[in-house]
């Protein structure tokens, strides 16, 4: 085998694979494993005119909107799951601050179906969801049609194929074969629909570890453009088996993003002045990270692939 490693630093991965103007899927696992460290690197590298795609976004989209990286959001929900609204989103949509952002409203299911269509290689997926809603009325990627096999109305959800899907995962090998467990959200279809995948892993492990459980390999390496080892890269969101959700951080962000000036301070302090995730974790403090660590391990029963 002549395979070469796909491991890059976060700086390199974003620099090479996420240009301004790209359609980027993040937050595929919903409130788990949000690739904050990748989003922060995009802010630092000054990306502009991104289209962000995701079912929900638990404050990462809000931060990137506030930083001026985003011109469009295709999502079902943008906010702060445990604390409420997204103030940067509101400023952008209501006042064009720091710049105008177009929102293309989906429901969770229709985001999932758009990616599913992309992953399956068909132009659309049919559903009953959104019939009768203003989501259907206003989103040009949702179109009512008549079922070809029954006397029913259906909605055709047009396929989405992100330029880049960024997934934070528990572990991967250097070739990008990635194990993910816990709730998967739209991670599987999100990766397979994408033109490129970037894997951010808590751990890079030997290929044998990944190959020991091919049913957990939800992203095969041949779809992956880059692998970044970035422990704690999902903080303040949780990574099952690695660290918990930093609820207080979300609440603090809520308060500190309410006013534009406060948000700008927050961004300076937590993103702009920070070179990378190790430094971010230094700033967060060992006390906080220890409190978020795993207190009780709970290992899966083994599956025997022997013969």
């Amino acid at each position: 085998m002549t395979k070469t490693s796909k491991v890059l630093s976060m700086q390199e991965a974003i620099s090479r694979h996420v240009p301004s103007g790209a359609m980027v899927l993040m937050g595929a696992q919903m409130e788990q494993m949000i690739p904050f460290s990748a989003g922060h690197e995009m802010i630092r590298q000054g990306r502009r005119d991104l289209t962000l795609v995701g079912p929900i976004s638990d404050i990462l989209f809000d931060q990137m909107i506030g930083a001026g990286c985003v011109s469009r959001v295709m999502a079902a929900w943008v906010g702060n799951v445990s604390a409420g609204v997204a103030y940067c989103l509101r400023r952008a949509v209501e006042q064009n601050v720091p710049r105008r952002v177009d929102l293309v409203d989906y429901s969770n299911f229709t985001v999932a179906l758009a990616l599913h269509a992309g992953a399956l290689g068909v132009p659309f997926m049919p559903t009953y969801a959104t019939l009768g809603s203003d989501i259907l009325a206003k989103n040009g990627n949702l179109r009512e049609f008549s079922s070809p096999v029954s006397e029913e109305k259906l909605v055709a959800v047009r396929a989405l194929r992100p330029d880049v899907t960024i997934l934070h995962v528990q572990r991967a090998d250097e070739f990008g074969n990635a194990h993910i467990w816990g709730n998967l959200g739209v991670a599987v279809d999100g990766a397979r629909a994408a033109r490129k995948v970037i894997i951010i892993a808590e751990e890079i492990v030997a290929p044998d570890v990944i190959a020991s459980d091919p049913n957990r390999t939800l992203v095969p390496g041949f779809l992956v453009a880059a692998v970044v080892q970035d422990p704690w890269g999902a903080h303040p969101s949780p990574v099952q088996g690695y660290y918990g959700r930093d609820h207080a951080f979300f609440t603090q962000y809520h308060e500190q993003s309410r006013k534009l000036e406060d948000f700008e301070h927050w961004l300076e302090r937590w993103v702009v002045r920070i070179p990378d995730r190790p430094e971010y974790m230094n700033q967060l403090g060992a006390c906080r990270s220890e409190a978020l660590g795993v207190r009780e391990h709970a290992y899966s029963a083994p599956a025997d692939f022997g013969y």
Partner: protein, 261 residues
């Protein structure tokens, strides 16, 4: 009204706790429940610990749970909700059950509800100004596809409106068979709106009516705070206070009243 109102009762429970208890009672045993977040999440857990031990919780991030999570959840993807789950999978795994018509009841919140139970969680309005809300999440999907939906929200005149400013999640539309005409499943749609003042239910024409008022609330207060001329049930009830068991369950789950403050 079926029971006398006691306007000056000293409550030994909070309004949120009353709403959670009322929401919990919307769940029957063994039902599949699309749980959602915040008060409904608590309501589901209360139901599990009281009258509906075999209710099954579905979370749109990809989780199915038959046993209640052992800790308070701030989000449906908090680690305690995944460990020991019945199934962890994709969002589509969960939405598929919804679209198959297997889900009995889904819980929703909203900024606005209207006369026919249509919900808006996309665009709020305050003093003539629109402001942006987080959006549907899975609310539209649940509103379209669950057999019954239950809404929890504050009862304010500018939030219970004659017509929702934006239909994020369709209820009965404009009433009278509107859902079926849209292509939505038969036997689906809004079942109850549990507000801070009472509980609204829906007639066969799809219009909401006041089914019960919370203890201490006057009917006039409800009507004054509703943005349309709300019908009142012939047999208006008083919303039952939380039972000792229900209160114990919710306080065990949320001792610091994060969700029921």
């Amino acid at each position: 009204m079926a029971t006398e109102t006691q306007t000056e009762t000293t409550h030994d429970y909070s309004l949120s706790e009353l709403m959670v208890a009322a929401a919990a009672r919307e769940i029957a045993d063994k039902e599949l429940v699309f749980v959602g977040m915040r008060l409904p999440m608590l309501a589901f857990l209360v139901a599990k610990r009281t009258h509906a031990p075999d209710a099954i919780g579905l979370y749109e991030n990809g989780v199915i749970r038959e046993t209640p999570a052992p800790e308070l959840l701030y989000t449906m993807a908090d680690p305690p909700n995944l460990r020991g789950a019945t199934l962890c999978g994709q969002m589509l795994d969960i939405m598929a059950l919804l679209q198959q018509g297997r889900v009995h009841v889904g819980f929703l919140g909203a900024a606005e509800v209207d006369r026919f139970g249509n919900l808006n969680s996309t665009w709020g309005h305050r003093e003539g100004q629109l402001f942006r809300l987080p959006g549907s999440g899975g609310a539209c999907d649940i509103a379209c596809l669950a057999r019954r939906t239950v809404v929890l929200m504050a009862h304010e005149k500018n939030r219970l409106r004659e017509r929702a400013g934006h239909i994020t999640s369709p209820g009965h539309g404009r009433g009278n068979g509107w859902r079926v005409a849209q292509g939505l499943p038969a036997n689906s749609g809004p079942s109850a709106v549990i507000t801070t003042l009472g509980v609204l239910r829906f007639g066969s024409d799809g219009e909401a009516f006041l089914a019960s008022v919370h203890p201490g609330v006057r009917v006039e207060e409800v009507l004054t705070n509703t943005g349309w001329t709300l019908s009142v049930a012939d047999e208006l009830l008083e919303t039952a206070a939380p039972s000792t068991g229900e209160l114990a369950a919710m306080r065990a789950l949320d001792p610091n009243h994060f969700w029921t403050r």
